[in-house]
Amino acid sequence: MSTPATQTDTATTGRIGDSPLRPDGVQKVTGEFAYSSDLWLDDMIWGATLRSPHPHARIRSIDIGAAMATAGVHTVLTADDVPGRNRVGLEHDDQPALADGIVRYQGEPVAIVAADHPEVARQAAKKIVVDYEVLPAVTEGRAALDPTAPLVHPDGNLVRHLRIRKGGTVPDSAPVVVSLDFEVGMQDQAFLGPESGLAVPAEDGGVELYVATQWLHVDQRQICQALALPPEKVRLTLAGVGGAFGGREDLSMHVHACLLAMHTNRPVKMVYNREESFFGHVHRHPASMRYEFGADEDGRLRYGKAEIVFDGGAYASSTGAVVGNGGTMGLGPYRFPVVHVDCFGVYTNNPPCGAMRGFGCVQAAFAHEALMDELADRVGVDRIAIRQLNGMREGDENITGQLIDSAAPVGELLQIVNDLPLPPAPTGTRDLRDLPGGVANTTHGEGVVRGVGYAVTYKNVGFSEGFDDYSTARVRLEITAGEPVVTVHTAAAEVGQGLITVEQQICRTELGVERVVVHAKDTQVGSGGSTSASRQTYVTGGAVKAACEAVRTAILERAAAAARTPVAGLRLDGGKIVSSSGEVVAALADLLGAEAIEETVEWRHRPTSRIDPETGQGDAHVQYAFSAHRAVVDVDIELGLVKVVALDTAQDVGKAINPAAVMGQIQGGSAQGMGLALMEEIIVQDGIIRNPSFTDYLIPTILDMPPMKIEVLEYADPHAPYGVRGVGEPPTISSGPAVAAAIRQATGLALRRVPVRPEHITGTL
């Protein structure tokens, strides 16, 4: 069977601050890496899903007769076959694993089939006859709050309303008042590896699930509930993940594959195709926002007012937390004496929305950054200066009254991107690939205007608002073939970000041992928490560090006892215990013999607290990470086509544990943010997705993404392990607004919606 094996890394060097090669890197480039869609067992059968064609309908009846009668079909299951509580969900148990009575979005799973061949399973699924009574649907976020709107769930369409009130009432006027409305379309994570996994029935009546996910234990909890099984009977192992970006935080095929495996007593594999993938995971919330800032004549902010509506779609997923972020972070990294924010998350009959890189901050940043530009123009200062004047600093309070107690280099980051050399003005005949439209040959320079735009952001790292956010690490040190070997075991998902390498680097640094084996990620160890919120290097990194320290303490105590010397001053290096004077006290091999030292640690970052429900005040977040971007674009103003010429950035990462991986995160995150500004949108009309394919859901190609200049600052956060700051999300937040600002500058248009389409620029909507 090809299931994920324990990683044995070929690189045996690389400590903190180095950039050792990733074990999966060469495999991925050469096509050798085993993704979850490559899982295989010789006796496995295949699952397929029947989904609702309607955004809102009552199921009158389901006839599975013809499907069951199809040759090669093993079983067909519906809600009636879910043994446990037929409800799953990250924050609220509001989503049936299989629709029971009502479907609330197009694509909602209604029935599942297992068959000998995937094609047979798909064809059989089409033979299931579902009698639907179509119900009126609500398909727009603000409309969902209308008291006369159709109800998506019995308790109403509001998922969460967050209020922030600070500094008294908003003044009736200010010397300068700017306001705008802004809309952000629905972005998709567009990970390349579709949802897939393999469920294997176990002899003890339980099930083993190999699956691509972001958080094994939160999956396990939901599967247990649906299957009515205890955790020890639902064992998960991480399979090769082909990207995540938030879209794998919710369940997809997990419960379905387990149900089919347990009903048929056969291993069941499920793999979505690209089209199904668009229905198989949550998307980024579309947002509708109204902002108003008041300022002094010189541009100093007096107040900030915002109303943000996130369309959460049919099920809550992480809408509550997105509202938490979007609201508490929603005015950007600026100082506001008076604050009035209302942030809503609502149910509609649109596709469910949940986690995606940047998590609520991405949408808000488009609005607050557009408004800061507007303010600069009104006051008559430049766009860097207005941000530096109002930028948050260490020691400030943010809008929830939380003290910013480590570096907040807003002004410096902006200065850095501003000081980077600009790309030269174009001269002579230009390579078509450097022009808007590329080799499609739409301009040789005609109509092309250059624009420059800036944006800055801050993003909370880790889980917030009092969540018990922890990670577990088990570290074992033993002698294998005469050599000391460390094995590190966590359940923290490697989704392509390079966590495996980071775990190894930490172990090498802490234990002075070169060979570090990373155990398969599974539920045989405690939760690692989610691979999201830019948190794993911080939280699982912290847990691995703490477990290493416990192992080290045990070893050194043993060495001290054996050598009858005090522990103080002893350290581990190169497989030896060395005294403060550099003398070798003992070799690990001699000290340990056949014995192993193993420690398991559950590690928490400092606690956060809930915010006050009336005022939104409180220490909601663990840490903040800051970044700034400068975008340079060439816009063909006659055709509305855009070429991003430069996308340069500066970011404070606290400490770059793996500098090459940091660069990768910044480049990828910037491309994803740029994609939202320019092209990435799931087009939903009346609850129906119009472009569920990579033919029409466009993501940037190599010819859309410019080379980047990246400046990394390392202002250690004294509260975080090694001083690290989350890296993955800030670039996705500040890049898009910078691109949008640059297009505004080139065109002179207001452009209050992203993605910016050629129609917006040419007035041909």
Binding site: V439, N441, L641, I683, S693, T701, E759, T764, L765
Partner: protein, 285 residues
């Protein structure tokens, strides 16, 4: 599903005659997508990749005979000077992988209004050689497209080749996509100046149920151009040409773009393409 693999052109025609429902497959870049998305379940696939002649091109009686199975990559590499409009269009198709597999014959077989070869072939006034066991016939390109994704082939016929006269004047091709590579056209325009005949050829893509010419724009421009003196082109002429190209289109709104944008972009592309072509013509003097 049967998989037929003829080894010669004669065998291919016989197979198609015997199995009129068989779907020919060349590069497969359209066919495989349709199969994977379960859009069609043909009774048989007719693989044309073993028919060597189909992937050849040569010059005969002063015209290029481009075998239906010649890939875009080869058009770009081998025919860039001979068939510049088609080569420019080929450069905009998909990605390197798609250009290596995809063929001009396949573009004609699919007959999508968004196919990129069509505007260039229309402007160049190409003709399509189609064949069956009943014989061979030549179809003028403008008559080849009969409806949305429909063409003039009879059920037993295959596309053998495309015949194109190497140009006597400059050619241009432009295509709008909402990203800078690997994108299906939102609107496309092909232009060829034919100084030998003193005519103008045009082709419009993605802006009508079929690829089509803009005959009124063509005759207008042919009459306005100073073919002998090669004097500067009046801006008003370029604009009027653009407007007439626009008037020839009848696009729809869809997820890729609005009808209004398609019309607007056609007028801009036509005006610009004309300026570049005329500039080339002046320089060639």
């Amino acid at each position: 599903m049967d998989f037929l693999q003829p080894r010669s052109w004669a065998e291919a025609l016989e197979a198609k005659a015997a199995h009129p429902g068989a779907v020919p497959i060349a590069g497969g870049t359209d066919v495989m997508v349709e199969l994977n998305f379960d859009k069609h379940r043909p009774e048989a696939l007719l693989d044309l990749n073993r028919v060597d002649d189909l992937a050849q091109w040569w010059t005969e009686d002063g015209r290029v005979r481009l075998g239906a199975g010649v890939s875009y990559s080869r058009v770009i590499d081998e025919l860039g000077d001979t068939l510049p409009g088609l080569a420019m269009a080929s450069r905009t198709v998909g990605s390197p992988q798609i250009r290596n597999r995809g063929t001009v014959g396949g573009n004609l077989g699919a007959a999508s209004p968004a196919g990129d070869a069509h505007p260039a072939l229309l402007a160049a006034e190409a003709s399509v050689e189609v064949a069956s066991t009943r014989g061979t016939r030549s179809i003028p390109i403008a008559e080849f497209y009969t409806g949305v994704k429909r063409n003039a082939l009879e059920p037993d016929e295959l596309v053998a080749a495309i015949w194109v006269t190497p140009p006597s004047g400059p050619q241009q091709f432009s295509k709008i996509g909402t990203r800078n590579a690997m994108v299906i056209s939102v609107a496309a325009f092909g232009l060829a100046l034919h100084p030998d005949r003193r005519t103008v050829g045009t082709g419009i893509g993605s802006a009508a149920p079929t690829p089509r010419r803009a005959p009124d724009a063509e005759s207008f421009l042919a009459g306005e151009l100073d073919w002998d003196g090669r004097r500067e082109l009046a801006d008003s002429v370029a604009r009027e040409f653009g407007e007439r190209v626009r008037a020839a289109a009848s696009p729809i709104d869809d997820v890729r773009g609005t009808a209004a944008y398609r019309l607007h972009s056609l007028s801009v592309m036509a005006r610009r393409a004309l300026a570049w072509a005329w500039h080339d013509y002046q320089r060639a003097a």
